[in-house]
């Protein structure tokens, strides 16, 4: 069994050559079509439709258990733990002792009890691989001896061999599908399959399949057509399906029958055939579409093992032919019915057991009645009518019709079950959702309320009343728990979860009813310059309005542009507000100075907005410069300009700027050198990433080279210095592991010192430059977690934030606070993130680690995703720290800014949660709203912590 990760269907099918685009991935696997053509009866080719989420672990799980995935599984892609359900490999293992495995270690993590023999399992780490060939070559090292039985004892010879190739997927992630390397990789796969076919005899079955497809960008995880359509190819030395020569009498009838079954399935499950044709460009009606879970029963049938307990898949009809010569037309039909019946009864048994075990109302015989009806029908027809007809000796046609009817009834039962389960397993626990939203809204209100008031005090009586009520409610909850859960409410919640939740709400309410006086400084608001509260109110209303766009899928899809639009608007308002302070006669220098900051920020936002990552929904109206746009060999002039610019930035401009921005002293030298070292590390890593992403032939990557000169196309004057592999390994290790760790250490130390300095006020001048220091150091840490372009942009952010801080006018403070927040969101998109699972930056987990470290990796991925928002939080600190704290009005403004900071995230977070609740049955929930809500939740949590830290540091 060969699994080729991310094998999209249009990779295997012959495509007409297109002139306008370079489609390196087309027509690279001719062997499959050739076999399909020359051996029509012993080969089968399907479009293999994956169930989202299209991440490898979920797919492997689905491929072997035959069950449907649940959404939140996608996040668990990081740490795959063993499958506890019944699965195909368990049965295979019982029958065939010698199972060999090569490739992706996901399989070993999922099925440890099957792959327990270290001599037969040759797995490779699936996340940590930095070139296209290591894993695949390692597989091949073991595969060929295994196939030719070289050096294996007779009792150790392979019976089942599974190889999971990762090269194609990795090539997609690194270079995208349209790349010369993809052509190389696919033709390598072609050679492998071709060579394997020589080992296929009468008693061998070769299964070639992809676990999922590949998006236009080369990634996967989501549910676009490109990601879902993979390929399944079965090939054997013996006959697999109807043979045109031997049974030509029945051939056309059965071909037609199979087609009809496939067509009904495609219709029932609603496969978007036209969309596939439009987006992938091959004729989707030409090959049957098989859902991935159909593989389990089909393989069970072919290998002669029982179907796993939890399987929901249905048999593929094409392979169901009885052994031996075929005497009559209905012989095959009868065989098919028998197999379908076994399949249907297995599924029925599973549904029944599931109902008895979980008491899930959706699986009660009552709600499944409509589906069971088909099964009963089939059973009745089969046992009564068919027997009756046999006795009556009716003519062939009536019998065939009856048998067909029975077959289709079984088929309908199986397919309707899949459809039903697909819908019902996306279950919603409205009770828990409402509870969660209540907690969120009450705590947000309580936070604001306590921030607005001073000297909060609470009387004992109030505490008693509130806690008493909450105790009573908790008690009621405990006694009614079983009763409530029967009605589908709160079924995801444990007993204690409910008690904790009730107490949380009680606590929030306690804060809300506390009698307290308004903060003294707020009282002065009334006799202040009235433009400030006006701006503040406008911003809150604006936030509310933009938060409402989270309910519209279009606005969420195009949020990157919306963010830029809002950012530009805020810049213009900032410009207006700055200019309002100007007096007649105009001083040209002053005007320019005032206009320059907003305009520079505006231009910076527009220019950086040229890069980013497209959501798949945005095509074809999206043409970002990819974050790894710069490559060796292509557009060398641009690349040299980019590298020179980066070198200028990280070796001259930024260190100098940094040195000037902090007061002189011994500490300054320490900070500056730490910053400069970090910058040069970031620069080297950018170069290394550009090198790694460049399209060299595979042979160059095998012999480690380091290009010292850039390959200028016109004059090939490149100097290639070959290093010994050992030295190369060491260099790579230093650059990938030790260098990032140095940066992390510097950043943590700086954070520690700055916090200390700001709290103790040991040296006031130095303390006042601390927020800036933090921003500079953190920007480098965040930069090394990004791809080159994003990294350059992040390195430049402290300069932009400095422009915002330098303004220092209290009248523009709330606008600047809001602008920093929007800039953070803008950076989220600019550094190639989107609110989708497909765009999660898994690679960031290995910056500084050469092995899979769960917590370290998760933290780094989180930091990489939230880079922009971290800049926002540090920027807020800088703005507030530099505002004039001694005047009365300024302190009021500062308080207002803090509320604004809370509101800017609390409003979208609460609304986003409410929208997900309202739109939970929306077509786009899983694709658009739910991922957006998860991102918003992360931001909300981070912001709450950041605001608390800000407050703590400001109180000093």
């Amino acid at each position: 069994m060969i699994v080729i990760d991310a094998l999209r269907f249009d990779f295997v099918t012959p495509m007409p050559p297109s002139d306008n685009e370079q489609q390196y991935y087309h027509n690279q696997l001719p062997i499959i079509e050739k076999l399909h053509h020359t051996h029509p009866s012993s080969s089968l080719l399907y479009q293999f439709r994956a169930d989202p989420p299209t991440t490898t672990m979920q797919r492997v799980k689905g491929l072997m258990t035959g069950s449907l995935p649940t959404f939140i599984d996608a996040g668990a892609n990081f740490a795959s733990s063993a499958v506890n359900e019944d699965h195909l490999l368990r049965h295979v293992r019982q029958r065939y002792n010698n199972i060999y495995f090569m490739g992706d270690d996901t399989w070993v993590n999922l099925f440890p009890e099957v792959f327990d023999d270290r001599n037969k399992t040759f797995e490779s780490d699936s996340f940590k691989m930095f070139d296209l060939h290591t894993v695949d070559n390692r597989i091949l090292d073991h595969l060929w001896p295994l196939m030719s039985d070289q050096g294996y004892e007779k009792e150790d010879r392979w019976q089942v061999a599974i190889a999971h190739f990762l090269g194609v997927d990795h090539c997609g992630h690194t270079y995208g599908p349209s790349h010369p390397n993809m052509a190389n990789k696919l033709s390598q796969m072609n050679d492998i399959i071709e060579r394997l076919t020589h080992h296929v005899d009468e008693n061998t079955l070769l299964v070639v399949m992809g676990d999922h497809g590949m998006s236009v960008e080369g990634d996967h995880g989501g549910e676009s057509v490109e990601e879902l359509m993979s390929a399944l190819f079965l090939y054997s030395g013996r006959q697999l399906t109807m043979d045109q020569d031997g049974n030509s009498k029945y051939y056309s009838y059965y071909r037609d029958l199979f087609d009809r079954i496939h067509r009904t399935r495609a219709e029932k499950l609603g496969y978007p055939i036209q969309e596939i044709v439009d987006r992938l460009g091959y004729n989707a009606t030409h090959y049957p579409i098989a859902s991935q879970i159909h593989l389990v029963p089909t393989l069970s049938y072919l290998l002669g093992v029982p179907i796993p307990f939890g399987n929901l898949g249905a048999l593929l009809p094409d392979v169901l032919i009885p052994n031996g010569p075929i005497q009559s037309k209905d012989q095959i039909l009868l065989h098919m019915i028998q197999q379908f019946r076994m399949n249907a009864l297995q599924v029925y048994h599973y549904l029944e057991t599931y109902w008895h075990h979980t008491k899930h109302l959706g699986f009660s015989p009552h709600s499944l009645n409509l589906i069971y009806e088909h099964l009963w029908n089939a059973e009745r027809l089969f046992s009564n009518d068919y027997n009756y007809q046999q006795q009556q000796q009716h003519d062939d046609d009536t019998t065939i019709q009856l048998l067909e009817q029975i077959l289709f009834e079984y088929n309908t039962f199986l397919i309707n079950t899949i459809k039903y389960c697909d819908a019902i397993w996306a279950q919603f626990d409205v009770g828990s959702m409402v509870m969660g939203i209540t907690i969120m809204v009450t705590t947000a209100c309580a936070t604001l309320f306590t921030a607005l008031r001073s000297n909060p005090s609470v009387s004992l009586r109030q505490i008693i009343i509130v806690w008493g009520t909450s105790l009573i409610v908790s008690f009621a909850w405990i006694t009614l728990f079983d009763n409530v859960q029967k009605h589908d409410w709160f079924e995801k919640m444990g007993l204690m979860d409910g008690v904790v939740a009730i107490n949380c709400i009680a606590l929030a309410i306690l804060f809300l009813i506390m009698p307290s006086s308004p903060t003294s400084s707020l009282a002065t608001t009334s006799n202040m310059d009235n433009t400030i509260p006006l701006d503040w109110l406008l911003l809150v209303v604006g936030t509310l309005t933009t938060a409402f766009t989270l309910a519209s899928n279009s606005f969420v899809i195009w949020e990157d542009r919306g963010t830029r639009f809002i950012a530009a608007t805020l810049c213009v308002i900032w410009l207006f507000r700055s200019m309002a302070t100007m007096q007649h006669p105009l001083d040209t220098d002053k005007v320019l100075e005032m206009m320059s900051a907003p305009l520079l920020v505006l231009i910076w936002i527009r220019v950086t907005g040229l890069t980013g990552q497209c959501r798949e929904e945005q095509f074809p109206y999206c043409s970002y410069i990819h974050n790894i746009f710069f490559k060796l060999g292509e557009g060398s002039v641009l690349l040299i300009c980019y590298i020179l610019f980066n070198a200028y930035l990280s070796f001259y401009f930024l260190p100098r700027y940094f040195y000037r921005s902090i007061p002189k002293g011994l500490v300054t030298i320490g900070f500056t050198s730490a910053y400069s070292i970090s910058l040069s590390i970031a620069f080297l890593r950018q170069l290394a990433t550009i090198y790694q992403n460049s399209p060299q032939g595979p042979e160059i990557q095998l012999i480690p080279n380091i290009y010292l000169a850039l390959n200028v196309q016109s004059s090939p004057t490149s100097i290639i210095v070959q290093l010994s592999p050992d030295l190369y390994e060491t260099l790579v290790k230093i650059l990938d592991v030790y260098a990032p760790r140095t940066v992390y250490t510097f950043t943590i130390l700086t954070t520690f010192f700055c916090t200390l300095m700001m709290k103790t006020k040991y040296k006031p001048t130095l303390a006042s430059s601390c927020p800036g220091l933090l921003l500079f150091m953190w920007s480098v840490t965040l930069a090394i977690l990004q791809q080159p372009l994003g990294s350059t942009i992040l390195l430049s952010t402290p300069l932009i934030i400095d422009l915002l801080v330098a303004d220092q006018k209290t009248s523009t403070q709330s606008i600047r606070v809001a602008l920093v927040s929007i800039i953070g969101q803008h950076l989220f998109f600019v550094t190639a993130h989107q609110a989708t699972f497909t765009s999660l930056p898994w690679k960031a987990a290995f910056v500084g680690f050469d092995y899979m470290n769960y917590y370290g990796g998760a933290t780094l991925v989180g930091l990489s995703t939230l880079s922009g928002y971290i800049v926002t939080w540090l920027g807020w600190l800088a703005i507030l720290y530099h505002s004039d704290k001694f005047s009365r009005i300024a302190s009021v403004i500062q308080r207002l800014s803090v509320y604004l900071m809370i509101l800017l995230q609390a409003i979208p977070t609460c609304l986003s949660a409410i929208f997900v609740l309202i739109l939970r049955r929306h077509l786009m929930t899983w694709k658009i709203f739910a991922p957006r809500f998860i991102v918003q939740g992360l931001i909300g949590m981070g912001t709450s912590m950041a605001v608390t830290a800000c407050e703590w540091l400001l109180q000093g």
Partner: protein
Amino acid sequence: MIPALPQLFTGILGIALNYVATFYMPKTRLLRDPLETLTTAVPLVLAGHILILTFMLSAVKRCSLKATVISVGNALLVTALGTAVLHGFIVLFGASLVEKFNHTLAFAAYLAVLALFPTFIALSPADTNVWMKCFLQHSPSTGPEIYAYSQAICTLSGAWIGAIVLPLDWERDWQAWPISCVISTYLGHAVGVFTAFGWSSFKHILNKRKNE
């Protein structure tokens, strides 16, 4: 008594002129051929506004010929400059620099005429101080000042609001760039005139009360 009657009159005249020049007179329809329609509409609107400005200056405000010519020249100069600046800002707000360049330019010119000319019609010839008080400190006080300020701000805001429908997936003709913005610019100007009327009347009544 209605304050700043000539300004109200020219404002309403402006609305009518804009309507006729944008939606009625061009042979092509805005929804089908936005670029062709705008290239006809912009000169028409410009010519109409120049006429109104000349009439306002010479007949209503009784300026000398020289002053009239200087004011009209100023208005043309500022509109030309404004077109360039607004084009820049439209790009900064997210329009493509290369793709549909002519569309963006035509829209910028349309916006410049609609936003800037009415201010000249209402205010000129006025002192620099007045202009600054009005547009830098955002505190227009007299009737003409309110008309100038309100029309400019509302037209620009109208152009801004028009962009909001662009991302929606309704697949309507008017969502194509820059049709929705052109329409909302026109509406913004109209709203500006009526806002100015309301605002100045309110202020007038308030002042009257104070005086009594």
